[in-house]
Assembly symmetry: C2
Homo-oligomer: 350 residues x 2
């Protein structure tokens, strides 16, 4: 088993050409190379199972096409999962390679990661420390932060997506006649960031309607026994609409309502987020906000990455691109609707 590492020279030998030619063919710079030669090289490479050394090519070329995406545990949801898939697929389609880390910059230092792999851009779903931010600047690695401050959510930010989700919940309830809303969150501290954004979205929607009020936030401690801790005490009187942080929290609210004899949706309308399947098996079936990752926000993220990299979007050559990624990203979202793939799935609970 002569299992020696095969390199460009071996391919060149087998094809009867020089290393230069091999490199040209393999990197699609073969304009000036006769088709016959090209094929010989390609065949040789295939036969030998040649894959160029990532390290050498990166070193020589001065960079690679890796997009490093920083995520961490937030709350598992199909929507979140699909979003990662959609982003990954979208980047691959543009010739970029998408790699996720679930610890770098969070439980493990970012610099450690960077000495193993140096991406051409970093996309982070959570806020990066100032030190890390400085380091990236030093290293000339662009950073796309998706989870910016809730105060001024940029067009692409994860914060903005969350904001819109809350907004959509509230708008729906108000449209159904609710006048006194409340926001209910779970006790999972890991979701704090997200629920803040969503709450702001709810608040904004409420502010836009004259005679609608928002009675603040209520916490459900879902871990404690029957899981209604906080609801009995916390639920303000007169509330007729609940925006739940997600479908799980909504399920808790529904169970609580059932127990207390509160009629849903007659006395109280409840809307969740995620549109998980179990929602349709609740009593009453749960109305929820679905996020369609494939056609919405993930496209905006891919567009933003491309813009930062100074590359044109996939599938077209020249385009006046640069500062106005916002416009393009918005266009990319769900057939120009700019809704980031957010939609309400109406069932009986609201």
């Amino acid at each position: 088993m002569a299992n020696k590492r095969v390199k460009a020279q071996d391919v060149a030998n087998l094809a009867g050409v020089s290393r230069t030619t091999v490199s040209f063919v393999l990197n699609n710079r073969s304009d000036s190379i006769p088709e016959a030669t090209r094929q010989r090289v390609l065949d040789a490479a295939r036969k030998l199972g040649y894959v160029p050394s990532a390290a050498a090519r990166t070193l020589r070329a001065g960079g690679n096409n890796i997009v490093l995406v920083l995520t961490r545990y937030v709350v598992a949801s199909e929507a979140g999962d699909e979003m990662h898939n959609a982003i990954s697929a979208g980047l691959e389609r543009c010739g970029l390679t998408c790699l996720l880390s679930r610890s770098a910059g969070d439980t493990s230092p970012l610099s450690r990661m960077l000495s193993e792999v140096r991406p051409c851009i970093i996309v982070s779903f959570f806020p990066i420390s100032d030190d890390d931010r400085r380091m990236l600047e030093q290293l000339d690695i662009p950073l796309l932060e998706l989870g910016e401050g809730a105060s001024s959510p940029s067009e692409f930010s994860y914060a903005n997506l969350q904001h819109r989700i809350g907004f959509a919940q509230a708008e729906y309830l108000i449209g159904r006649g609710c006048r006194d809303l409340v926001y209910v969150v779970g006790d999972d501290s890991l979701i704090e960031g997200i629920h803040e954004y969503r709450y702001q979205g709810v608040a904004e929607a409420v502010a836009r309607h004259a005679r609608v009020g928002l009675a603040g936030r209520v916490n459900v401690d879902a871990d404690s026994g029957e899981g209604f801790l906080g609801l009995d005490e916390g639920m303000p009187d007169g509330v007729d609409g609940v925006c739940a942080f997600n479908d799980t929290v909504a399920a808790a609210v529904l169970a609580w309502a059932g127990r207390r004899g509160v009629d849903v949706p007659g006395d109280l309308r409840v809307i969740g987020v995620d549109n998980l399947r179990f929602g349709m098996f609740l009593d009453p079936p749960l109305t929820s906000v679905a996020i369609d990752a494939d056609e919405g926000w993930s496209d905006a993220v891919v567009a933003a990455v491309l813009d930062r990299l100074g590359r044109a979007p996939a599938g077209d050559g020249a385009e006046g691109s640069s500062a106005d990624a916002a416009g393009r990203a918005d266009d990319a979202a769900g057939g120009g609707s700019g809704d980031f793939g957010i939609r309400v799935v109406a069932r009986r609970s609201a």
Copy 2:
């Protein structure tokens, strides 16, 4: 803004030493270097924000410490998410860098990924194509396949984990007096692989008990309206126990039972998988199998990776390691219990 790429030479200049010394200090081979010099180098590196070039160091050293984990969309669950986190954290603790890909080897070719980053080992949650397998062999990259054939699930395999989950479900129901089980799956084709493994586990448990029968599999088409398609027709008579593929499917069964006036758990016991929070809000609250990623199977995976790499487990120097990773992995699982962190959370439904 003199933002020139800082390299080892710059650090050496600032510290007043040679590149060699810098390299020694930064790679912890500084046995022979005086502490004062060491500090000077460290300070200089910090001040300049120096991070060694990943490409150069990999090229020169002939390898890196990257573990590439191949996953893809299966079914989002907190358990799966936590498992990835636990594996990632476990590997980092051993000095390895964990990177996930959600497309390589699946929607995008593995070779493309490999020409961007060459890991020292690949861990795959799904079966790798024969071509890719050959390629990895060629490239001398060890492959740890977690989703092996259901026929002979190895001790570490994802298949085996799934097998045990099904087994645990059935054992619990049998222990509660069930004599006629049925397995209920959703219509999500993506989960086919997993549910096959789990079903085999159920079958094995049933086979171990003399007077217990298994009435096969029933499909719920959760997408269709009320979501009971298949249950009305498919549910065999006389069944007194349901092993549901997951909590969502279990929720469908519970809803169906409520509608048909089947008493749970009196006439029918139902157990799910994942122990999702919403289960406690169902009526009756759902009994489920929880998978404790932190202390169970993920440790076994980390141990297996280390073994393949020929490295000793973290935290100890010499240990007679090699072929018997099975033993070690099993030991690592949940306080030596070898249960991979699988446990039944009993509620009223079973």
